[in-house]
């Protein structure tokens, strides 16, 4: 692997860009690995990287049914933030944000992490009080960049929102996290893959798990489209299809339903929006930022019914367009360039799972709802820690499957056991 540096860019510039080598190997599967991670998305790749880097594991494979970045890694709106309220969640996401801040250096790969602020619009005195409670809690527990802005400050920072007094939901202020922002989603997948590969991880693409072999209370091997692979430990990190894989491992049910989420990008525009802006009031849910290429990247709610299809429905396209026009009327004549849909693990309380399972050597990473992108560095960090040490770190000890039976759900939104309501 060529290490990227200013010098390597300069030298390859002089030699007609001929000195670059491929970013990661394309190895044949070995017969046996110490650890096999199923799922080559951001969470799986990050897990393999931290297993090799933090825990010195040498014999790891990541098996991916398609290609890297082809699933939800390439189907999101790339928002990174840590404005969580519940104990357990806030420490986890703050750790993730800290990992993001150093990720480009750590991976020697520019993930284009841009801390451009995350601005949640507020529309009533009650909403401002609610946000103040949440953001004060963040400040008291280690997330020092939480702020509440009044209308004057918001107008100064983001001048072209719809501030009209005749708006259906007039804007009164905003809750802001300044260290939050966006990153380049493909670069995160490629950066983790390249860094993991350099530490000896075998990344096996077009390698779909079709069944598992169990012996007693352990998984002994995985049958894949590229042959039988034996494993001493197995980690599942396959958002969307977690339930199917779970059933291949011989289990029945999980507190998860698969739903699909759409996202959209417009034609490229000149610089318009420097921040991530979130609009959520009265049933509306909308978030928007501008990519470095100029496209407006935005999304809204999930499609409201369970689905495994990676394509979205039209009523949500209309909902999202209506939200866009209601807060940024200047987008009225902007054309849509692309729109796509990904299949999400929607969990029963809106929080994820990084936990042991009833099998001794099987570990589960699942249930990210539609907030998995920001979580991916810490998700990999803690999942690697769990697999290497065979016990959950105290930060993630509530991310288990037993919390529903114990009555200690992590329901950030207070929406109850209905997966479609957790966003």
């Amino acid at each position: 692997m060529t290490r990227f540096s200013a010098w390597s860019v300069f030298r390859n510039g002089l030699s007609g860009q001929s000195g670059w080598t491929r970013q990661w190997r394309d190895p044949e599967p070995k017969k046996q690995y110490d650890i096999v991670i199923v799922g080559g998305g951001l969470h799986g790749l990050a897990t393999a990287y931290y297993l090799a880097k933090n825990h010195g594991q040498k014999n790891i494979a990541v098996v991916e049914k398609g290609w890297l970045g082809g699933g939800n890694a390439g189907r999101n709106t790339t928002i990174v933030r840590s404005n969580y309220f519940l104990p357990g969640n806030r420490e986890f996401y703050e750790h993730s944000l800290k990992l993001w801040e150093d990720l480009s250096h750590d991976l020697n790969y520019n993930v284009m992490f841009s801390q451009r602020s995350h601005i949640s619009l507020l529309h009533s005195p009650a909403a401002i009080d609610g946000a103040a409670r949440r953001y004060n809690t963040m400040r008291l527990t280690g997330t020092a960049d939480a702020e509440i802005w009044d209308l004057d400050q918001l107008k100064q920072e983001v001048p072209h929102l719809n501030y009209g007094p005749d708006a259906r939901f007039p804007i009164r202020g905003a809750a802001v996290q300044k260290r939050a922002g966006t990153a380049r989603h493909d670069a995160v997948a490629w950066g983790y893959a390249r860094a993991a590969d350099a530490l000896g991880v075998d990344i096996l693409q077009n390698c779909e798990v079709t069944s598992t072999t169990r012996s007693g209370n352990e998984i002994t091997s995985l049958t894949t489209s590229r042959g039988e692979i034996q494993a001493k430990k197995v980690g599942f990190a396959v958002a969307g299809n977690t339930s199917r894989l779970w059933q291949m491992a011989g289990f029945n049910t999980l507190p998860i339903e698969s739903h699909k989420l759409q996202a959209f990008v417009s034609e490229p525009l000149k610089p318009l929006l420097d921040q991530v802006v979130v609009f959520g009031v009265g049933g509306a849910h909308f978030y928007i930022s501008q990519s470095d290429k100029g496209g407006m990247v935005f999304g809204g709610d999930i499609d409201w019914y369970k689905s495994y299809a990676q394509r979205g429905n039209l009523p949500i396209v209309q909902d999202v367009a209506e939200c866009a026009i209601s807060i940024l009327p200047c987008l009225g004549r902007v054309r849509l360039l692309r729109h796509w849909s990904g299949v999400m693990d929607m969990s029963m309380d809106g929080s994820p799972f990084i936990c042991k399972t009833p099998l001794n050597n099987l570990y589960l990473n699942a249930g990210w709802n539609y907030g998995g992108f920001k979580a991916s560095p810490a998700s990999g960090w803690y999942f690697a820690d769990l697999i290497a040490n065979d016990r959950p770190h105290e930060t993630i000890e509530h991310f288990n499957l037993d919390r529903f039976a114990q009555g200690v759900v992590l329901d950030e939104r207070g929406a109850g056991p209905d997966p479609k309501l957790h966003g």
């Binding site: 339930s243 339903e257 495994y308 299809a309 009523p315 029963m348 529903f404 039976a405 056991p417």
Partner: protein, 94 residues
């Protein structure tokens, strides 16, 4: 858009309906062991393929219905009233 043939109102857009979730779940007796309630409230088979699910026609007759739908293709195989007695009456009237 999925079109759902409501047994009471006829064929309508899915946006008139609210998705209720897995319709095959049978809730246990009120005094059943807590494990059975945890299973019914929180645990899902999450089928990829044809599943029975409940929908409510919130912008129409407000009745609950049971729909057999493929969660991969969105094709609908059958629709009936969720209330067994009502379903029987509708069936008899055909």
């Amino acid at each position: 858009m999925i079109r759902i043939n409501c047994p009471f109102c006829g064929e309508r857009d899915h946006s008139e309906f609210s998705y209720g979730g897995d319709g095959s779940i049978v809730y246990p007796a009120l005094d059943a062991p807590v494990e059975q309630w945890v299973e019914a409230v929180f645990q899902r088979e999450n089928i990829r393929g044809v599943q029975t699910e409940s929908w409510q026609h919130v912008s129409g007759c407000r009745q609950w219905i049971l729909v057999e739908r493929d969660t991969m293709t969105h094709e609908i195989h059958s629709v009936r009233a969720a209330h067994e007695g009502v379903a029987k009456v509708l069936e008899a009237g055909k």
